[in-house]
């Protein structure tokens, strides 16, 4: 039977107040960046709809780069801020590190804006080696240098943040306990909340991803000094980093649901042997699932490609059997308090599942042969991002805003918000799926005649995005007010 862990000295009321204030600042910043970055996505679908025929395509690729890096970054820091806040119940994360990350992230984002919208840096989020060095005179070497400075700042700050949360957890739990090994072994040990278990798994993986990113940046620097760099190695490192960053953002979101949904359902959700085994399995499988990004690199050994498919398939088991089934079990027949926050948590887990199904299909080598770099890819990752972790983080911000402001929500406006988000969101995604199944390439500013139907899909998508935007604006009006009031009184 688990026993309570050794109590760490938790925060004083004054410290807790400062932390709440910092969390609100993070939340409001995320809410400010959301419509801006979403508008960039809106612009891209308009561009593909041929709404700006005289605008040069380099603007499309620059906006693509800012939208993708910005969205991944915003939801990563949003999930980190959320998990930090919830971890206060068990540990003492550093407020200084959170502040350092806030200013570091802002600086990094400003530099990225300068590089993309100012310098027209247009390599996509993955700046795949050696593209940044082959600009065709669209962006300058100084812009490339500034881009890597921005990435270095963001990477360093986020690594420090991951390490600080791991430090805070380690002050109360041993590594074995935090990974739930006492549950796995069926031995007596400290009681470990799922939030701590999942955060530990995610951040260990996250640090390994950031190390890969550091190596990538160092190798770019080496290339600038004349050293030969292996493109296949760079591709492996880049996709390992990107895959890990996106996945741990989702896992941190799921950790938040494990922690908060029970208070709405009126039932506990505790770590047990199955939960611990599942998340420990994730820790291993996630390290190798990224191979599915390189299936079309035939130079990669075939056994690695097949191993990548096996790991990608198996990765869906712990997610499906434990987290999605656990959510359904928690809610089934409960006295659920359906608020905007709890509804978004529930729908976020559903979106994670739907995106996961599409991802597993795409992780089949024989299918990826026809889907790789078509619009099927943004279809599935937008599903588990936009309709998954984004909804969860929006739910968290709403939860905190209500908790700290005391302002009640308007049930009808909440329902309308959810309807607009669902209709606009899934409608927008459906155009990606249909287009992907019809061989329309991703990351195309304009479509050649072989993929001319992409224009029609983009035009329909624009209509759905408009609906989605109304949903986002209504959410911002409701939740933003609560967060601002809470911040004013904090």
């Amino acid at each position: 039977m688990p026993v309570p862990a050794t109590a760490a000295p938790l925060l004083s009321e004054a410290e807790a107040l400062k932390f709440r204030r910092m969390t609100l600042i993070w939340g409001i910043t995320v809410l400010l960046l959301l419509p801006v970055l979403a508008a960039l996505g809106y612009f891209m679908r308009l561009y593909q709809s041929e709404a700006f025929p005289s605008m040069k395509p380099e603007w499309f690729y620059a906006v693509l780069t800012l939208h993708s890096l910005g969205m991944v970054g915003v939801w990563f820091v949003g999930s980190m801020a959320g998990v930090s806040y919830l971890l206060l119940r068990y540990t003492r994360p550093s407020l200084r590190i959170s502040k350092l990350n806030y200013w570091g992230t802002l600086l990094g984002v400003v530099l990225l804006i300068v590089c993309t919208l100012g310098g027209r840096f247009g390599t996509g989020w993955y700046f795949l080696y050696p593209l940044p060095l082959y600009s065709q005179h669209i962006w300058s070497p100084a812009t490339t240098f500034t881009f890597f400075v921005a990435l270095t700042i963001l990477g360093l700050c986020w690594t420090i943040w991951c390490l600080d949360l791991l430090r805070a957890i380690a002050q109360r739990y041993s590594l074995a306990a935090a990974l739930g090994w006492n549950y796995v072994a069926g031995k007596q040990g400290p009681e470990v909340p799922p939030l701590v278990l999942i955060t530990t798994v995610s951040l260990i993986v996250g640090v390994s991803g950031f190390v890969a990113a550091v190596i990538v940046i160092a190798l770019f620097a080496a290339r600038a000094l004349g050293v030969n760099v292996d493109p296949l190695l760079m591709k492996n490192l880049t996709f390992f980093f990107g895959h890990v960053l996106v996945n741990i953002t989702m896992y941190l979101g799921v950790a938040m649901v494990y922690e908060m949904l029970p208070s709405y359902a009126g039932r506990p959700w505790k770590t047990n042997r199955v939960v611990a085994i599942a998340w420990d399995a994730v820790l291993l499988l996630i390290l190798f699932a990224y191979f599915h990004h390189l299936y079309m690199d035939f130079a990669q050994p075939t056994w690695i490609q097949k191993f990548g498919q096996i790991c990608s398939y198996l990765l869906s088991v712990p997610a499906g059997v434990v987290s999605i089934f656990g959510t359904l079990l928690l809610v089934y027949g409960s006295k659920m308090r359906w608020t905007l926050a709890s509804t978004l948590f529930f729908l976020g887990i559903m979106g994670w599942g739907i995106g996961g199904i599409a991802a597993v299909i795409d992780s089949t080598v024989a299918v990826n042969f026809r889907f790789h770099n078509t619009l099927w890819v943004p279809a599935h990752f937008h599903t588990y991002y936009l309709m998954g972790v984004v909804l969860i983080i929006l739910g968290f911000i709403d939860h905190v805003g209500k908790e700290l402001s005391g302002l009640a929500e308007n049930p009808w406006r909440s329902k309308l918000t959810v309807v607009l988000l669902l209709f606009g969101g899934y409608g927008f995604l459906s155009m990606f799926y249909w287009a992907g199944a019809n061989s329309v390439p991703r990351r195309y500013a304009t479509y050649p005649h072989e993929a001319a139907q992409g224009v029609l899909y983009a035009r329909v998508a624009v209509g759905f995005i408009t609906v989605l935007f109304f949903g986002i604006l209504l959410y911002l009006w409701e939740t933003g007010r609560r967060c601002l009031k809470a911040l004013a009184s904090a």
């Binding site: 395509p57 690729y61 795949l128 080696y129 050696p130 593209l131 082959y134 600009s135 292996d230 493109p231 296949l232 591709k235 199955v274 079309m296 690199d297 035939f298 130079a299 075939t302 490609q305 498919q309 398939y313 198996l314 869906s316 088991v317 499906g320 059997v321 089934f325 359904l328 079990l329 809610v331 089934y332 027949g333 409960s334 006295k335 659920m336 359906w338 559903m350 739907i354 199904i357 599409a358 299909i361 089949t364 080598v365 299918v367 042969f369 026809r370 889907f371 790789h372 770099n373 799926y433 992907g436 199944a437 061989s439 390439p441 990351r443 195309y444 479509y447 050649p448 072989e450 993929a451």
Partner: protein, 185 residues
């Protein structure tokens, strides 16, 4: 077309998941206690079913990878180089910029119908996606064109006509207009 089959499988499984979520959400109208022992029994069955489906899926698909098999001899070899922003295709190896330029302007390469064709694909600058579109505009095969490596893509064409090659890996501001062509006769 395999893409449409994948889409239908996705819609069916995703639809089932949505139905389950709606059912569970509606169950909260009438709160009741749950038998956790029975629920864990359902979870075990779900685990076994999911694992079974995945194992069957692996069994059916792992043998159908597009990678070259050593015991197959291609009837024709086509040499391909990607460079910002065009594909050069040739019957003979392309080893420098001059040969590349020549290959982009020469008549389309011809490959035989119903025979195994091998494309030896590389790049002279950045990563490109060598993606073959059929005459009726379906993506039928692809591999990456990567500097320093030669990826061997083998395809057996069953439909005659002009095939287009599009780049499906972001390679710069001219990415969307990068192309190549060849004929299947």
């Amino acid at each position: 077309m395999i893409q449409m089959h994948a889409l239908y499988v996705f819609l069916a499984v995703a639809g089932l998941l949505v139905a389950i979520f709606i059912y569970v959400a509606s169950s909260t109208r009438h709160a009741r206690d749950i038998d956790s022992h029975a629920a864990y029994g359902i979870r075990t069955k779900f685990f076994l079913v999911l694992l079974g489906v995945l194992v069957v899926g692996l069994g059916l698909t792992l043998g159908k990878t597009p990678y070259p098999k050593e015991n197959e001899i291609p009837a024709k070899v086509v040499f391909v180089v990607g460079k910002q922003f065009s594909f050069g295709l040739s019957d003979s190896p392309i080893s420098n910029d001059e040969e590349y330029e020549s290959s982009t302007y020469s008549a389309p390469v011809q490959v035989p119908l119903d025979s195994l064709v091998e494309f030896r694909v590389t790049s002279f600058d950045v990563n490109h996606g060598f993606s073959v579109y059929s005459p009726d505009d379906h993506l039928i095969a692809q591999t990456q064109a990567m500097p320093g490596y030669v990826n061997r893509l083998r395809v057996r064409f069953t439909q005659p006509g002009r095939y287009t090659v599009l780049c499906l890996e972001l390679c710069g501001m001219g990415h969307h207009r990068m192309r190549g062509v060849f004929d299947v006769k």
